[in-house]
């Protein structure tokens, strides 16, 4: 077999390992669904009337505005689970076993990334289902839905690799569960929950230039037909950049960390 074939076989094996973890411990997935659903309900029913009025619609208009941001919030929260499970591997003996076997080096990490993406998509489907139940009315065509799936895949891929790197550099499982938390704040500090133009200048500028805003704007445009402009290109650029840097960072730290 060639090296590439080995890499694929080993990655598939490690992916299967992560799927077993998912199946054996569904409580983590439930938690990763629970938090965004609570935020969705909280924002729609507590703040939705007032904020929706400000947007010139009402509660229903706010469900539509909010859902793309909540989807991203779901992804950002779910990758904390990735960091935790990577850190668990790193702090237990199993990583030494993998590293002393003649297997493709990155397959352990690839397995984590693929497993987490499955988990993220389960969570996304659940959250989207709740949003539809409480009045989210997307206007997307099948093709646009496909694009939505694509953007969410690219985003999940990027953030998962980032979380893998955070999980490797964390010196304990506790640290790994805390460091990705700032990601969950980013949808708030952008156009996820309210439009950025009501924010103070410094915050507005940050909100407009941080990676989550173009991703949210792209999702919103695809789902609801609002203007996308160059957001899609910027969003994909961010995803590609974050994926690449995180991959290189994660791989280097994996080789080094496990060697000390």
């Amino acid at each position: 077999m060639t090296t590439l074939a080995h890499t694929l076989t080993d990655s598939r094996t490690m992916f299967r390992r992560q799927l077993l973890h998912l199946r054996r411990y569904p409580s983590l997935t439930v938690m990763l669904i629970g938090l965004p659903v609570i935020f969705l309900l909280l924002f729609v029913y507590v703040f939705g009337g007032a904020v929706g009025a400000g947007l010139g619609g009402g509660r229903d208009a706010y469900v539509d505005y909010l859902t793309p941001g909540i989807l991203l919030f779901t992804v950002a929260g779910a990758v904390a689970g990735t960091a935790i499970s990577v850190a668990m591997d790193m702090t237990e003996g199993i990583v030494d076993r993998f590293r002393s076997m003649a297997i493709a080096r990155a397959s352990v990490l690839t397995g984590h990334v693929l497993g987490s993406m499955v988990q993220i998509f389960i969570a996304l489907f659940a959250v989207l289902g709740v949003a539809l139940l409480i009045g989210f009315r997307p206007t997307a065509t099948p093709l646009e839905w496909l694009a939505v799936a694509g953007v969410l895949t690219a985003t999940s891929f990027a953030l998962t690799w980032f979380a893998v790197a955070l999980g490797i550099v964390a010196d304990s499982v506790e640290t790994a569960s805390n460091t990705p938390m700032f990601l969950s704040l980013l949808p708030f500090l952008g156009s996820g929950f309210v439009p950025t133009d009501t924010m103070p200048t410094a915050l507005r500028l940050f909100g407009e230039y941080q990676p989550f805003t173009p991703i949210i704007e792209t999702l919103r445009g695809l789902l609801l037909g609002t203007g996308i402009g160059n957001s899609a290109a910027i969003a994909l650029g961010w995803c590609a950049g974050i994926s690449l840097l995180s991959y290189v960072w994660a791989k280097r730290k994996y080789n080094k960390r496990a060697a000390s």
Partner: protein
């Protein structure tokens, strides 16, 4: 013990050095492990045993020296070394969230054994390691001894010809320890080479064909268990007598000077076997003196270190 003598070494190391920052952990190690034998690296915590194993198992790069493991260089030909070796570390390297069978399956898949051959080998190991009942249970539910067995079984899925066992019985209860020893003996009988680290002289004595004593990053003694034990004066009998008269008589006939007049005890060098015990008692019988009490002291790690370094075993933390 293996009776086949081959000349090709499974491991050969010359002038190996490794430091972490300013701390020198391994300071010029030379050793050779013959194929099909058990080699024990004996030393206290902090001697550098784990570092040594990690270097040989490709997990860590040495600073200097030449190393061949299964005929390959662990840095330049890491994958060739990895394909030939198996590593069972001090801490069970198992996936605690998976069941015993799933852990073994994972190893079979990573060794790319294919479905049929993988299943066959997993079933055989489950049987051999007495894990039939635990097979469907998550590893986290097993005892420490069982987890260590799963760990070793995982190492064996790939059929390695050279196995590194880093303190395989540390923290195990006596029964699990004896079971682990039995497994190691069976492996050697099949022709596997075992490189073992341990803190216990008894373990090295039970299992090893050759023992190297590691202290502060240097090998301070090397040889067969018998060769080493002959140099260790630690084994002795302590005889306690009822009165000073009996003590003096016994000391005279046994020709020993090491006596404690207050405790009424006499220390007689002995390796603790029945024959030497009989001889001592027979000598005492000859002069009609009988000890009140007798204890046998077998040499331990401290005696080894006293014999070879003049210091008791160091106890600083193991450096990883």
């Amino acid at each position: 013990m293996s009776t086949t003598v081959t000349t090709r070494p499974a491991v050969s190391v010359a002038g190996l050095r490794k430091s972490f920052g300013t701390k020198t952990v391994l300071d010029g190690i030379d050793l050779t492990v013959t194929e099909g034998t058990v080699f024990a690296l004996l030393g206290p915590n902090g001697a550098g045993k784990t570092t040594m194993v990690r270097i040989l198992a490709t997990l860590l790069e040495a600073d200097g020296g030449s190393i061949r493991v299964a005929g390959h260089d662990p840095v330049r030909e890491a994958d060739a070394v990895r394909a030939a070796i198996g590593l069972t570390g001090q801490f069970a390297a198992v996936d605690k969230l998976l069941t015993v069978r799933e852990n073994l399956r994972l190893m079979a898949d990573l060794n790319r054994l294919g479905r049929t051959e993988g299943r066959r080998r997993v079933d055989r190991l489950i049987q051999r390691f007495d894990l039939i009942e635990s097979a469907p249970k998550p590893v986290s539910q097993l005892s420490g001894g069982q987890q260590r067995r799963v760990d070793l079984a995982m190492t064996l899925v790939g059929n390695p010809r050279l196995i590194f066992l880093d303190e395989p019985t540390t923290g195990l209860d006596p029964r699990s320890r004896v079971e682990m020893w039995q497994i190691v003996r069976e492996l050697v009988a099949e022709g596997v080479t075992v490189f073992l680290t341990t803190q216990y002289l008894e373990e090295a004595d039970q299992l090893a064909d050759r023992i190297a004593v590691l202290d502060h990053g240097r090998i301070v003694a090397e040889g067969t268990p018998d060769e080493l034990k002959r140099q260790i004066p630690g084994g002795h009998l302590v005889l306690r007598f009822a009165d000073p008269g009996a003590l003096r008589t016994a000391a005279a006939v046994l020709n020993v000077t090491n006596r404690d007049e207050n405790a009424l005890t006499l220390q007689v060098p002995s390796d603790g076997d029945i024959a030497s015990l009989r001889a001592v008692l027979a000598t005492l019988d000859g002069v009609h003196v009988a000890p009140d009490h007798l204890t046998i002291h077998t040499p331990d790690l401290d005696d080894v270190f006293f014999a070879f370094t003049g210091n008791p075993a160091s106890t600083d933390e193991e450096t990883r």
